[in-house]
Amino acid sequence: MAFTATLETVSEATSKIILSGELDASTAPTFKAEVEKAAGTPMKRLVLDLRNLEYMASAGLRVLIYAKQKIGADTDLYVVSPQEPVLHTLTVTGFDQSVFIVPSEADIPA
């Protein structure tokens, strides 16, 4: 499935990037560009909607790390509903400790 990354402004405090398809070295730059766009406006939290993301290679993880460092310590990074293979990658590489992984958007504090 083709990869897409879509940036939405949910509210003044929250931006969201919806990812779908396969995130690998060839598609990571698209994601990275959206992260940079998002980081350009002040916000309290960045939400990554991974419901429809099927696969994440090392390159994808690198962008997640980049996102975390780009948005700064005062902005929380939420990862919503990652599929099992993606969650596995996040967990064994320890990235789960740096972000908030939540089952749905309803679990993100307002």
Binding site: D24, A25, A28, A57, S58, A59, L61, R62, I65, Y66, K68, Q69, H88, T89, T91, V92, T93, G94, F95, Q97, S98
Partner: protein, 705 residues
């Protein structure tokens, strides 16, 4: 304005190039490209060979233009590479002359000695495609791990309690109940166990990329594959073993290992790496050409005048560590692990080799050891030497320390084992070992923590086997029981191997507790071998280097079946951690220097204040004055330890305490579990304050408070 120093100046086919930077060596990401830098003292020319990941044939080969060589270093920036998906190697041309030590061969593709990620053995035990001309494949790495505020823990050396373990063995057994058995990720799942045990530091047997298929062969009896399982044979010094990572198949082993280290640090546990700089996986003259041999054979290896490999390692070749170039590589490597992976310390396998000159002679002032000792990046790292080598150099007590190096104390191991089995004439030696071996170290101004105290380690018997076997039983290694050491100082307690004799089993259980008690009341740094806390056995095999099976794997059922032993070990560890009097920074002075009325340490026997140093004596006792704990800087209780390794029970008269204090029993290995030890802090008072009966072969630890 954009930088103009990051644009290509040359082309080769479709590739855009620029003159590279000679430092750092290896492959480094630059804006828009990758800087490749490699040195060879004798190569005439070099090309960069590029592969798509996993492919047998390269997609490109780019010769380094002559103008890109600086001194002996070939360096080049290649732009617009798909850096996530490439693998790279080198092809070098130069002289081929065995006697002169030159092995250049343009048919070989060579791995970068500075490769930070190595593919080719991505998943443990998957048989490699032997037709692949490039077996161990260098990849690029990224230094973007999210460490947050983590850094090495810098636990004071004397406060360490080390746990020596093998990454795969720890969780590969089905009983481990982890999602990814045998991996870095699985160790993270077991952090609660390590915390429960109470160790401060784990020492990982080699995690640098190695080839488990090196010298792999079928077991002549069972047909099962025997591997290079332990991994004491390095393929690449800068890369973690991919097969130890659940994510190795995705090439994410770097992140997984860093995540483990970060999590351990968060839980107060240090990580020490067992590093093998004495030889490489290229073996002897018949071994494979992986990297070093084809790049700069004469530089990397110690060679005889005829061009053969010196074999001080017992493994076919010897890394030429005091050649200035190799010395720098070792330094670069350790700095990289300390800075990039936040490693807390290093244990150097066969470290005496690192003190030999390029012709094999021991050096008085080995520059490599000195360099490491004074390096600013390694300044807070623990440096631990296995202070001997396979060429007969034995330096326990005399390893060139430069005020920094600790030693695996082989004399501690031997002395404790002999005393434990009841040999006569051991009490004098025992007194030295219990005090942190001042006979070996105090004269040179080396602290008690110089002495890494261990009774068992991966080499040799486990603790359970030490008390169950008189002789090694290494038949499963397929070498007719000729491999492995013969000087085990072990005693089977009355039957060789497994027995249902309750008397023998009770004695074995007691002997294990005796050993653990001795280890944890000794000054210096105790090291526990993985599984000894629950009586792990290797069926009498004292050299299980080749077994990927239950001989090595930690069977987690033992935590339940040997719960009594586990409880005893945990209690002794906890007791050591709350009593600083066991963790002095400097050696005892045998005098009262704080005005407590007691010397820091005093020696006793069955008669208080009257130690018996005679040849037939098998008992010893000592009193530690709590007012002298950590040189009088920390408050502590009085501690009395009595050891009876005689086959009869003995009444020990106990030295008196200052008024108002009473003796309490922390441990008595002569009592059946659970009365063998008490939760530290809840010790019951001793009925008779003037003496205690020690059963045959037992240890008592009292606390005066």
């Amino acid at each position: 304005m954009d930088r103009i120093d990051i644009h290509p100046t040359h082309t080769y086919g479709d590739f855009k190039l620029r003159r590279g930077k000679p430092l750092p060596f290896g492959a480094t990401l630059e804006p828009g490209g990758v800087n490749f830098s490699i040195f060879s003292s004798h190569a005439k020319s070099c090309s960069l060979v590029l592969f798509k990941r996993h492919e047998l044939e390269p997609f490109a080969e780019i010769p380094f233009p002559d103008s890109f060589r600086i001194g002996n270093v070939f360096c080049m920036v290649v732009f617009d590479l798909d850096y996530e998906n490439i693998e790279y190697g080198y092809r070098m041309d130069g002289p081929f002359s065995f006697q002169e030590g030159h092995w250049f061969d343009t048919s070989k593709i060579l791995m970068d000695p500075y490769a930070k990620v190595i593919g080719g053995r991505d998943v443990w035990g998957v048989t490699p495609d032997w037709s692949n001309p490039y077996q161990h494949r260098a990849r690029l790495s990224f230094d973007d791990f999210d460490w947050e505020d983590d850094r090495p823990l810098e636990i004071p050396p004397e406060d360490q309690i080390i746990y020596e373990m093998h990454v795969r063995s720890f969780t590969q057994h089905p009983s481990a109940g982890v999602k990814h058995p045998g991996t870095f990720a699985a160790i993270r799942d077991k952090i609660p166990y390590l915390k429960e045990l109470g160790v401060t530091s784990i020492e990982l047997m080699p995690v640098y990329e190695f080839d488990e298929f090196e010298n792999s062969r079928p077991n002549p009896h069972t047909g099962e594959t025997l591997y290079n399982y332990w991994g004491y044979s390095t393929v690449g010094f800068f890369a973690p073993k991919a097969g130890y990572a659940a994510t190795g198949k995705f090439g994410m082993q770097v992140d997984e290992l860093k995540a483990l280290i970060k999590d351990l640090h968060k839980n107060g546990i240090e990580v020490i790496l067992d590093v093998v700089f004495n030889h490489t996986a290229e073996g002897n003259e018949q071994g494979p050409t992986i990297s070093y041999r084809g790049i700069d054979n004469r530089t990397y290896y110690m060679l005889t005048p005829e061009g053969y490999y010196f074999n001080f390692s017992g493994c076919g070749n010897t890394l030429n560590c005091n050649n200035p170039i190799v010395r720098n590589m070792v330094l670069d490597c350790l700095r990289y692990w300390a800075a990039e992976y936040h490693i807390d310390g290093f244990r150097f396998d066969l470290a005496s080799i690192l003190g030999r000159d390029p012709w094999g002679a021991p050096l008085a002032n080995p520059p490599l050891l000195e360099t490491l000792a004074f390096d600013p990046i390694l300044a807070k790292c623990k440096l631990i030497a296995e202070a001997w080598d396979a060429g007969g150099l034995y330096q326990v007590g005399s390893f060139p320390a430069f005020g920094r190096w600790a030693e695996w104390n082989g004399k501690y191991r031997d002395g404790i084992r002999k005393f434990l089995k009841g040999e006569p004439g051991r009490v004098g030696d025992m007194a030295q070992r219990l005090q942190g071996s001042p006979d070996l170290y105090a004269w040179a101004g080396r602290a008690p923590a110089t002495s890494i105290n261990f009774i068992t380690a991966h080499d040799g018997f486990t603790l359970a086997d030490l008390v169950s076997y008189n002789d090694k039983h290494n038949e499963a290694n397929g070498e007719n029981n000729n491999d492995g050491g013969n000087d085990n100082d072990s005693w089977n307690c009355g039957a060789e191997g497994w027995t249902d004799d309750p008397g023998i089993n009770a004695l074995r259980s007691r002997q294990m507790k005796n050993a653990i008690a001795m280890l944890l009341v000794s000054q210096g740094v105790p090291m526990i071998l993985m599984g000894d806390e629950v009586g792990r056995s290797q069926n009498g095999n004292n050299n299980t280097y080749c077994h990927d099976n239950e001989l090595n794997w930690f069977n987690w059922e033992l935590v339940n079946t040997n719960a009594g032993l586990f409880r005893f070990v945990k209690s002794c560890v906890a007791f050591r951690r709350i009593h600083p009097v066991f963790r002095n920074r400097w050696h005892f002075r045998n005098t009262d220097y704080v005005g407590s009325g007691y010397a820091d340490i005093t020696w006793h026997g069955t008669k208080a204040w009257n130690a018996d140093w005679s040849n037939d004596c098998r008992t010893i006792a000592f009193l530690l004055c709590g007012k002298h704990a950590k040189e009088g800087t920390m408050p502590d209780n009085y501690i009395y330890v009595a050891m009876n390794m005689h086959w009869d029970a003995h009444w020990f008269e106990i030295p008196g305490l200052p008024p108002g204090l009473n003796w309490h029993v922390f441990a008595n290995t002569g009592a059946p579990s659970p009365a063998d030890c008490w939760e530290p802090g809840s010790e019951p008072a001793l009925d008779n304050q003037s003496g205690i009966l020690l059963g045959d072969r037992s240890v008592v630890i009292l606390v005066g408070k």
